[in-house]
């Protein structure tokens, strides 16, 4: 595996660590870009998702919108926005924020929906106000799915931020495109390995974080998927999927 050896040498070469185009700078750019994008998307998606999850209204619209957005090719959105606003940071920023919204939105409302209806009814019956129900019951119990949504959004953004280097001078993706241009396979492969490593590390951090934010009592780490149906009946939806509790 000579190619991997070359790539490893490229990664370890001190010359690639200096200056504004060095590995550390690109890595930080990549990370900051990812974090800011996911935060922006969360600011939009979480409140809307909570609202949908709590009231049950607009769900089908949200599902349709997320489904449609999933089908939209990232590269197309990225290049189109880049043509509109010009080469630079704003194009990937806008495009990736749009892409990060659906998974977070889905996580937010699916988290609420996965809560057993009787728990919410109990909360209401002991006199909790709607806002108390949201804050102290639905948000903590819905947390695992919300985090799962943020996790998949983050992974998507980290991956697509690589592609952002196609239209902007940012992130680890630069090494891929620079290497492609100069036919420097060590640089392409080295850059690729760095992105993959970054993605896997983030994945690991999320896997750990997911355990930490889950309230005790929802300990299993997974929400009671497809709880006994409730307030918003979907006739004929539960069989075949609900796991038998034998």
């Amino acid at each position: 595996m000579n190619l991997f050896g070359d790539a490893l040498n490229w990664i370890l070469d001190p010359a690639n660590y200096a200056g504004p185009g060095g590995i550390p700078v690109r890595l930080v750019e990549h990370l900051v870009f990812t974090v800011v994008t996911v935060l922006m998307a969360s600011l939009v998606a979480i409140p809307v998702g909570f609202l949908i999850g709590h009231t049950g209204r607009g769900r089908s619209l949200a599902v349709a919108a997320s489904g449609g957005l999933r089908a939209i090719p990232t590269l197309g959105l990225l290049t189109l926005v880049a043509l509109w606003v010009g080469i630079g940071l704003s194009a990937p920023f806008v495009a990736l924020t749009v892409l990060a919204i659906p998974p977070i939105l889905a996580g937010a409302y699916a988290g609420f929906e996965a809560i057993d209806r009787s728990i919410i009814d109990s909360a209401r019956s002991v006199g909790m106000s709607e806002s108390q129900i949201v804050r102290t019951v639905e948000v903590p119990l819905g947390m695992p799915l919300l985090i799962a949504g943020i996790r998949s959004a983050t992974l998507q953004v980290v991956a697509t931020a690589t592609l952002a280097a196609y239209v902007a001078d940012i992130g680890l993706g630069r090494f891929l495109f620079a290497g492609l241009k100069t036919r420097d396979y060590a640089e392409m492969l080295g850059g690729s390995l760095l992105v993959i490593l970054l993605a896997l590390v983030l994945e690991g951090i999320f896997a750990l974080g997911q355990r930490l934010v889950i309230p005790r009592g929802v300990a299993s780490g997974r929400p009671p998927v497809d709880r006994a149906r409730s307030a918003r009946p979907d006739p004929g939806m539960e069989p075949a999927i609900t796991k038998g509790t034998h």
Partner: protein
């Protein structure tokens, strides 16, 4: 718009290229994921390993993977085969969990009844478990189809011709209509394959309304629970 009318041939060619790139990975991914999912569901020990591995594979960003595959397989960097392999890997990563979940959703009573009336392990799988898991598999396959079609466009930046080439070309030449046409065609192709799978599901699983029973798996896939 004028650009589109004068380049219909190009659009048609790229659409065909795109089909050739994206259909094989969907089918291959499914065929490989079924036995793996079965293993994951059947053997406790295998479950953790297989599901973790597929979760990690799914976490690998696509563009870097396109660069890494030639180094592993020995193909040339410009070969469309890289793309097919990468997309197949994502298909497997997504489907393995769906298959495992789908098989696990088969009621134990049903399985035991099958044993009681004399089915062998092999025929239980083919005649009982697989059909009953059908709606879940179909839901997963639909997600795979849509995301594969969308992901295949990324290959354009390393030179694999597809609808994605319309994006890179349109971007470099500053033709908005070309990019928009590419987006519309990609979404249309995704919806077309999705629709084809729904029809296929109706034919193969006539006893069920596929779209309704598959919420759980769909949702799992939507949330990226593959990597959970």
């Amino acid at each position: 718009m004028t650009w589109i009318w004068s380049n219909l041939d190009l659009l048609w060619d790229r659409t065909l290229d795109h089909l050739v790139l994206s259909v094989p990975p969907i089918i291959l991914g499914f065929l490989i994921a079924v036995p793996l999912g079965w293993l994951a569901n059947r053997y406790r020990a295998g479950r953790g390993v297989i599901l973790t591995a597929s979760g990690l594979l799914y976490a690998i960003p696509s563009l870097p993977l396109f660069f890494v595959i030639p180094a592993i397989v020995g193909t040339s960097l410009r070969s469309p085969l890289n793309l097919v392999i990468a997309l197949t890997i994502y298909g497997i990563a997504l489907m393995v969990r769906v298959v495992a979940d789908g098989l696990a959703s088969v009621d134990t009573d049903v399985r035991q009844s099958a044993v009681a009336v004399g089915y062998s392990g092999w025929s239980i799988f083919w005649q009982v478990e697989l059909p009953l898991a059908g709606p879940v598999l179909l839901a997963g396959l639909r997600v795979v189809a849509v995301s594969t079609v969308s992901l295949a466009t990324v290959g354009a930046v390393i030179g694999a011709q597809s609808l994605g080439s319309l994006f890179t070309d349109g971007f470099q030449r500053g033709i908005q209509a070309e990019i928009i046409a590419g987006i519309v065609l990609t979404v249309a192709l995704a919806l077309l394959l999705d629709g084809a799978l729904v029809v296929l599901g109706r034919l193969l699983l006539p006893w069920t309304r596929p779209a309704t029973t598959s919420r759980r798996a769909l949702r799992a896939a939507q949330l990226g629970e593959v990597s959970a």
